[in-house]
Symmetry: none
DNA sequence: TGCAAAATCATCCGAAAGGGTGACGACATC
DNA sequence: GATGTCGTCACCCTTTCGGATGATTTTGCA
């Protein structure tokens, strides 16, 4: 958290300096102040949004309400019909295999056909992190490839 | 989500206009551009953070733990559902997509988690051939990766 | 508050996968 | 016989994955 504020300040300062520098060099155009302000506004708004997402990303688990609901699910349903059913991963098996929630989360995205980079973008983490989670999940599932991990995950009731 | 972008634009425009107006009226001192930029930056950073919080806040709702009880359902989903044990691929869809039998055969092996080399060994063909079939299948399925192709194949009823 | 688990990120390297292109033979159809 | 489809294979190049390892930060809990 402290690091966020720090990089916020540093990046902000650098951005302002850069913008000022460029402005002093290219002030020949008209309305440069407006453009300058708009540029700063857009950049910092984007940065702020990113920061807001980043900060609050993990707070969701705090005030969650756990509701236990029982659902009757047909034992065997084809893939097309299964898409609508609420899927509940087999947490018992997940526990015994030692698969963490984050690993399972990434595994579901892998099963949906996303690349590591796409998953990293969606989850606001680096590609390396995704790869680490993947590797651990593969190891715990005894899989050598992502397709194999997906297959195993479906067999074990971990994935929809 | 669209509403957020809308109010973002409106408020942003108002802010810029206000800042320009006030600047033209009161800020005759030196370094007005720097102050102006810093002000805009801070305001928009705060606004961005607020927006980020607002966007993600409503996700902190209820997390329900669903307990699934498997139940044998008679014949709710008729034709495609019952032919599950010996899986019958959706040949109609296969035809319309122009997927050949060989491509589907290789696709099923891909879905089972085999590598191209393993598939080549099993089918007594070269790895290049497997890759060619894969590429054509991916193209016809609109997939960029093998996991995506598997996902699409299952959605379309081509794979078990 | 301190510790263990989990999550995050990085780097290196080799393997796997994917895109593009070209080619050749078998076979069916017209 | 010309045409088209399918299966087969090869080459080159780029991207993506995976394995191994080490490190730091965050979190949850006792």
């Amino acid at each position: 958290m402290k690091r966020h504020v720090l990089i916020f300040g540093i990046v902000g300062g650098l951005l302002i300096a850069t913008l000022q520098y460029t402005e002093y060099r290219f002030v020949v155009i008209e309305h440069s102040v407006e453009l300058y302000g708009a540029l700063v506004a857009i950049l910092f708004a984007a940065f702020g949004i990113w920061l807001g997402l980043r900060i609050t990303r993990r707070r969701e688990t705090i005030r969650e309400t756990v509701v236990v609901r029982e659902v009757l699910v047909p034992a065997k349903v084809p893939a097309e019909a299964r898409a609508l059913e609420p899927f509940a991963p087999n947490t018992a098996r997940q526990q015994t295999l030692g698969i963490t929630a984050r690993e399972l989360e990434i595994l579901t995205l892998v099963a949906r056909g996303f690349s590591n980079r796409e998953i990293a973008t969606q989850l606001f983490v680096s590609e390396n992190t995704v790869k680490t989670h993947c590797a651990r999940a593969y190891d715990k599932l005894g899989a050598a490839r992502r397709t194999q991990a997906v297959q195993r995950g479906k067999e074990l009731g971990l994935l929809p």
